[in-house]
């Protein structure tokens, strides 16, 4: 985290190129989040790009005593709400990457420890979780993604969303149980 603050300091001191390190660090987490919140790949890419443009323009307002990750995710969340209000983008998830495309990025937990059958089952489960994500309400999906795809703590999510910690935990719980309920349905 201190690394982020140092990069911000460098950018504000005029070394604009230091911002590229921040883009490289946060492009994938932000795209994973926005891509699964937005319907189209191109819209998600545009949105992710706009998050960085906004962050760059507002970098002087960033307080280094706070977490940069929560700051940039808050920008992304506000931008998303703004775009939805203007009805510029849909609210469905991206289709999960196809087998060929996803295979290179796919790295299941303890995959090497699983047998071939268990690995196949896990891959199938992941595919179905991805589909189930599209069916849960966006207000739950967003918190779920922050927690279980971006790996943010509940406290960080509360900070980004402005919701009480208990509400955040409750909504993430609801999201997981709804996804689980969808998984129980016949594929």
């Amino acid at each position: 985290m201190a690394e982020d603050q140092e990069l911000v300091r460098q950018v504000l001191a005029g070394q604009t190129q230091a911002f590229e390190a921040l883009i490289l660090k946060y492009q994938q987490p932000l795209f994973n989040y926005l891509g699964r919140m937005v319907g189209e790949r191109e819209s998600a890419l545009d949105l992710t790009q706009e998050v960085f443009l906004k962050a760059f323009a507002a970098l002087h307002t960033y307080n280094p005593n706070y977490n940069f990750r929560t700051w940039i995710f808050r920008i992304a969340s506000h931008l998303l709400i703004d775009q939805w209000r203007k009805k510029k983008i849909p609210q469905t998830s991206l289709e999960p990457p196809g087998d060929e495309e996803g295979a290179s990025n796919f790295d299941p937990v303890d995959s090497r420890a699983l047998s071939v059958t268990a690995r196949f089952e896990m891959e199938e489960l992941i595919r179905r979780v991805e589909k189930a994500l599209q069916k849960i309400p966006v207000r739950l999906r967003e918190l779920f993604l922050w927690r279980h795809v971006n790996g943010l703590s509940y406290a960080e999510i509360a900070e980004i969303s402005g919701l009480p910690l208990g509400t955040v935990k409750n909504r993430v719980f609801q999201a997981k149980e709804r996804i689980r309920a969808f998984l129980e349905e016949k594929p």
Partner: protein, 189 residues
């Protein structure tokens, strides 16, 4: 011992519990096959959630964003132009006000200031009048004399100045619209 809630089981799996409560759950799991099943079920779900693949980004995407950032940084010259046109517009308004309400000043020994002020003021009026005349010529007779009585009887040979300052005015107006658009693009909540 009563079974734990599913929310507590998630907390246990996500290591969100105090060591004491985690131990209590582990002790309970030794003797409760029902809860063991729930734990295994949710453990698999969480493993799948944490293994959702990265959505593929285009190659060299960060560099393309950096290229756009450099284009967004406003050139100093444009900011200078915006500042100058804003100042010119402000001065022209002031000049027009002074000349309108203090005719004696217009007749004073300040030919250069008078020239600039009247020229600027008339250029603004010229543009406004053009727009108004195009929209409704019938309003001309009613609106212009009543608004600009001092200019009505005078004859300033300043048409080239009017044209020049009209151009400056348009550039200034364009700059302000550009600024407004840019602020919309970059404004952060």
């Amino acid at each position: 011992m009563t079974c734990f809630s599913i929310a507590s089981i998630y907390d246990y799996l996500e290591k969100e519990l105090t060591p004491e409560k985690a131990q209590a759950i582990e002790a309970h799991l030794q003797s409760c096959p029902h809860c063991r099943q729930i734990v295994e079920d949710r453990r698999r779900l969480l493993a799948a959630c944490h293994s959702l693949p990265d959505l593929p980004l285009p190659a060299n995407w960060a560099q393309s964003v950096m290229a756009k950032l450099s284009r967004l940084t406003p050139p100093t010259l444009i900011w200078l132009l915006v500042f100058l046109t804003s100042s010119v517009l402000l001065l022209s308004s002031l000049g027009w006000l002074i000349l309108s309400f203090q005719p004696s000043l217009a007749a004073s020994r300040l030919p250069f200031i008078k020239l600039v002020a009247v020229g600027l003021a008339r250029s603004v009026i010229f543009l406004a009048a053009k727009i108004i005349l195009t929209l409704a010529t019938t309003l001309q007779a009613l609106v212009l004399p009543s608004l600009f009585p001092h200019a009505a009887g005078q004859n300033f040979p300043l048409f080239p100045l009017e044209l020049f300052f009209s151009l400056i005015f348009l550039v200034g107006l364009g700059s302000f619209f550009w600024l407004f658009w840019r602020r919309r693009l970059l404004a952060v909540k």
